[in-house]
């Protein structure tokens, strides 16, 4: 059954789940969550390497779901708020926050847009192109050795780089739907070798002079070079490890499961240790729209439970759509 991450809640409610675990299909445990107490633990060790996902990927997934924030998140929010409010009244220039490519990979752009109620943001078209280019890469067993349960899933499908890029692209599209967006573009100068930082800086400099740009980047080189070009910058630190226990609401747990599935291609969900469902983010014929809508394929182990779930999820979706119609009546 093709579902959205939010539909995982329906399954967990049906099972009255208190504790869940997310594992790789090889059995390696990645994270566990205490649904009732709204906490999440990273079960994989920092030494996890060479598996289909490594510890660094798990950290990225926690950032994607908003559970883990950059160490300087509070300062960043403050910088953005100051930039978008005070500057406007003092100088009359329209303040705009620009994001580098990485902020769409980690979903931080989306979280920040929401938290600061950002009115507009900008990004370089070069960032978008870079993501689009990476989305094309196919999985190769030589470049990306995968454990046995993953080989048939990945055969002929997206590589890990491509899957991550598709997650980033979906984030970019979501951000564009949330608020006003400016896509900055600069022509590539012939005769010079292509450099992403150069291109991002050049495109931001092409934006109208009436805009007051603040570039948020996790790339120290880009931050330095942009500052050298008189573009205001704020450096976003990247978390390198997760605390033993993190606060996580259900929505964030669902997004973590989705992200882990997308990064690894498939994960197993166990409830109180009992294998309950396999969650695939990759399957033959998955469409671009399904990637953009963050769809997953849910395979529930127990057929009886699967049938009940199907009815319930279908009805919940229909009811949700009916309720949406009501907003026009009120």
């Amino acid at each position: 059954m093709i579902v959205s991450p939010e539909d995982i809640t329906i399954l967990l409610n049906m099972l009255q789940a208190c504790k869940i675990e997310v594992k790789l299909l090889t059995g390696a445990e990645l994270v566990s969550a205490d649904i009732e107490n709204q906490t999440l633990r990273v079960e994989a060790k920092p030494s996890l390497q060479g598996e289909i996902v490594n510890y660094r990927d798990i950290i990225d997934c926690l950032q994607l779901s908003g559970i883990l924030k950059p160490p300087n998140h509070t300062e960043t929010v403050e910088t953005v708020r100051q930039h978008t409010t005070m500057k406007q009244s003092l100088l009359g220039a329209k303040p705009v926050v620009a994001f580098d490519t990485n902020q769409f990979y980690t979903g931080y752009a989306n979280h920040l847009i929401e938290e600061t109620k950002m009115e507009a943001f900008a990004y370089s078209k070069a960032s978008k192109r870079e993501i689009e280019w990476r989305m094309e890469e196919k999985w190769s067993p030589k470049k990306e050795p995968a454990p046995k349960p993953y080989q048939h899933i990945l055969h002929g499908r997206e590589s890990k780089k491509a899957r991550k890029a598709k997650v980033a692209y979906a984030n970019l599209l979501k951000a564009r739907r949330k608020t006003v967006c400016l896509e900055a573009e600069a022509p590539i100068t012939s005769g010079t070798s292509f450099n992403m930082d150069t291109h991002i800086i050049a495109s931001l400099k092409k934006l109208p002079q009436t805009l007051d740009i603040l570039l948020l980047t996790s790339d120290s080189n880009l931050a330095l070079r942009a500052a050298g070009e008189n573009i205001k910058t704020a450096y976003i630190e990247q978390p390198t490890e997760a605390p033993a226990t993190l606060k996580a609401i259900q929505k964030q747990v669902n997004m973590t499961i989705y992200s882990l599935a997308a990064y690894s291609s498939a994960v197993e969900l166990t409830v109180e240790g009992i294998p309950t469902a396999k969650i695939y983010a990759v399957w033959p014929g998955k469409t671009a729209i399904e990637w953009a809508q963050e769809k997953i394929k849910l395979e529930i182990a127990n057929e009886n439970l699967a049938n009940k779930y199907r009815k319930r999820a279908r009805t919940a979706r229909k009811v949700k759509n009916i309720v949406k119609e009501a907003s026009s009546l009120l």
Partner: protein, 152 residues
């Protein structure tokens, strides 16, 4: 035979969420659902009918009849009397009558509560949403531990 009296406020999701919770957690399968509406919330009844039919038929396998009773919630005592008479009427016909006071505004919920107590309704329900971030969500999308169906 069972009848469910539900007060209706401005959020259809609140009516549907508490309906779904009552049917699921209390195994109440009403033959009749009576919506207690105001002039404003009356507009929601076609939507509520459709959504309730979806939930009842496709998840629980029964089809309730729905009725709408309009009240003036500003006239509290009159509203209490109207709802009380309605409950007693159904009881006379042999129905077990359950009253859900969750979805409406304070005056209407308070009126329904008083009426239900005075008419000795068979069950009075209030669905407690522990976290306001789930306001507007439908029952299956709200984590179970964030809800508590209170039987008064």
């Amino acid at each position: 035979m069972q009848a469910l009296v539900q007060t209706v406020g401005v959020h259809p999701s609140a009516v549907l969420t508490s309906y779904w919770a009552i049917v699921e957690e209390e195994a109440v399968k009403p033959e009749v659902i009576v919506y207690i509406c105001t002039t404003q919330s009356e507009k929601l009844t076609p939507i509520l009918r459709r959504a309730t039919a979806e939930i009842s038929q496709h998840v629980f396998g029964f089809t309730p009849k729905t009725v709408c009773r309009k009240v003036n919630e500003a006239r509290v005592l009159e509203t209490v009397m109207n709802i009380k008479m309605l409950i007693l009427n159904y009881k006379e016909k042999g129905y077990n009558v359950y009253v859900d006071i969750t979805p409406s505004r304070k005056t209407l919920s308070a009126s329904a509560l008083k009426a239900a107590i005075e008419a000795k309704a068979d069950g009075i329900y209030y669905l407690l949403l522990k976290n306001p971030q789930y306001i507007g969500e439908i029952y299956p999308y709200i984590p179970r531990h964030q809800l508590k169906l209170v039987k008064i």
